[in-house]
């Protein structure tokens, strides 16, 4: 079996499980942050599920409309909502170093045409990830919160994943692409634990 199928299968199962954990935690604690996090996990896993099913059934990747990319974008939009909720107290603050790094990050997203060849889609993704990156990094600089570190790392791994994919020729065996993907999965799952730690304080 191709390692791509195994990797995507693990991702779907893991994120669906964490979506369930977040949903239960959110309902139990009556906390909207966990419900938004559940949206992040659920959208990501559904996007991967669509991609994997398309790959298995059709034997190729989607060519016309990017349904799975829409789901992944939805996942990052939920993450952005969570980030904005968590960083409300620093809103409007300007940090030149953080801003510089954010511009580099957004330029890389647009330059590498991450999330498809469509420019409007790439630019939207760049804006969304830039917002998460800026506020999360600002949050870390202000209060040294691990939740913010995890958010920054999610963006970094996602960026790296696309860059590595450009140089990856085969997906049948374990390689650097899958190593980065596992890092992304682990970091995304850690969001739940960091949020739980902060909310239970």
């Amino acid at each position: 079996m191709s390692f791509e199928i195994i990797d995507n299968g693990i991702q779907i199962g893991l994120f669906l499980l964490f979506a369930l954990f977040s949903l239960i935690q959110g309902l139990h604690m009556q906390n909207r942050r966990f419900l938004i996090l559940a949206g992040t996990y659920a959208s990501f896993s559904m996007g991967t599920l669509y991609y994997l099913l398309y790959l298995v059934i059709m034997g190729k990747v989607p060519q016309v409309f990017y349904v799975s990319e829409m789901a992944w974008m939805a996942s990052y939009l939920f993450l952005l909502a969570l980030c904005l909720m968590e960083t409300r107290r620093y809103r409007g603050k300007l940090d030149v170093l953080v801003l510089g790094l954010t511009i580099v990050e957004a330029a890389m997203v647009i330059g590498w045409k991450i999330l498809g060849p469509s420019y409007p889609f790439t630019v939207t993704f760049a804006l969304v990830t830039a917002c998460i990156f800026y506020y999360a990094l600002l949050g870390y600089r202000m209060e040294k919160r691990m939740l913010m570190v995890a958010m920054v790392l999610v963006i970094v791994w996602q960026l790296l994943l696309y860059i590595v994919s450009v140089f990856t020729t085969g997906y049948t065996h374990f390689n650097l692409y899958f190593a980065v993907d596992f890092l992304l999965m682990a970091t995304m799952c850690s969001l739940f634990f960091w949020l739980k730690k902060e909310e239970c304080k």
């Binding site: 309902l27 909207r32 419900l35 949206g39 659920a42 959208s43 559904m46 996007g47 599920l49 669509y50 099913l53 398309y54 059934i57 059709m58 989607p62 060519q63 016309v64 409309f65 349904v67 799975s68 829409m70 789901a71 974008m73 939805a74 996942s75 939009l77 939920f78 952005l80 909502a81 904005l84 909720m85």
Partner: protein
């Protein structure tokens, strides 16, 4: 060629007539169902347009183009109503469900006119599965938007996020159903399972609230 607009006239006129004799909430509810039907017709036109633009075959259209067009068009009247009337949370969920029901009903009617009504077992399964799929999307968008509309800064992000979720849910169903064989059976089971889980979760939450 099936003249979908003629079918809509035939199905929609009784609803329009009923609108003259009902008031308040009932009028709103009938309007939502009718709106769902109109959006289904528009979705079929928009889908055909993109199909021609991209030169896609019926399989690719069903799997990649239809979910996007249908979910976006289902969202539009709902969003317009939300922005204009700023309704209560309960009404938002009800409106989303009714638009989805109207959409699913008209879609099934069109399916019947094209494929006939001889095979009861298949039609029964399709009725439940397609209905459950649209209903799941309706419930997700209703609950989601009721949640995000409470905060103005969350609206845009929330709307886009929920729409993406609904599109991929619809996409997975269409992909499985068009694949045939055991994938198709999984496709029919997928929304039925989801709607069952939602139903029991709702019952459980009601119990806890009481």
């Amino acid at each position: 060629m099936s003249c979908l607009e003629n079918i809509l006239v035939c199905i929609g006129v009784p609803f329009l007539l009923a609108l003259l004799f009902v008031k308040g909430k009932q009028r709103e509810y009938i309007s939502f169902i009718l709106c769902g039907m109109v959006m289904c017709l528009l979705a079929s036109y928009v889908t055909s347009f993109f199909m021609a633009v991209y030169g896609a075959n019926t399989l690719v259209t069903a799997v990649e183009i239809t979910p996007v067009c249908e979910e976006v068009l289902k969202f539009l009247p709902f969003l317009l109503w939300l922005f204009i009337f700023e309704p209560e949370e309960e009404d938002i969920v009800m409106a989303a469900i009714l638009i989805a029901v109207g959409f699913a009903t008209f879609e099934n009617i069109c399916y019947l006119t094209e494929n006939g009504a001889a095979n009861f077992n298949f039609l029964f399964l399709r009725g439940i599965a397609a209905g459950a799929m649209h209903l799941c999307g309706g419930i997700a968008s209703g609950l989601g938007l009721a949640f995000v509309f409470q905060r103005s800064w969350l609206r845009l992000i929330g709307i886009a996020g929920i729409m993406g979720f609904c599109v991929v849910f619809h996409g997975i169903y269409n992909l499985l159903v068009t694949a045939g064989g055991s994938w198709q059976r999984c496709g029919y089971l997928f929304p039925i399972l989801c709607i069952t889980v939602i139903f029991f979760a709702r019952q459980l939450m009601k119990k806890h609230t009481i």
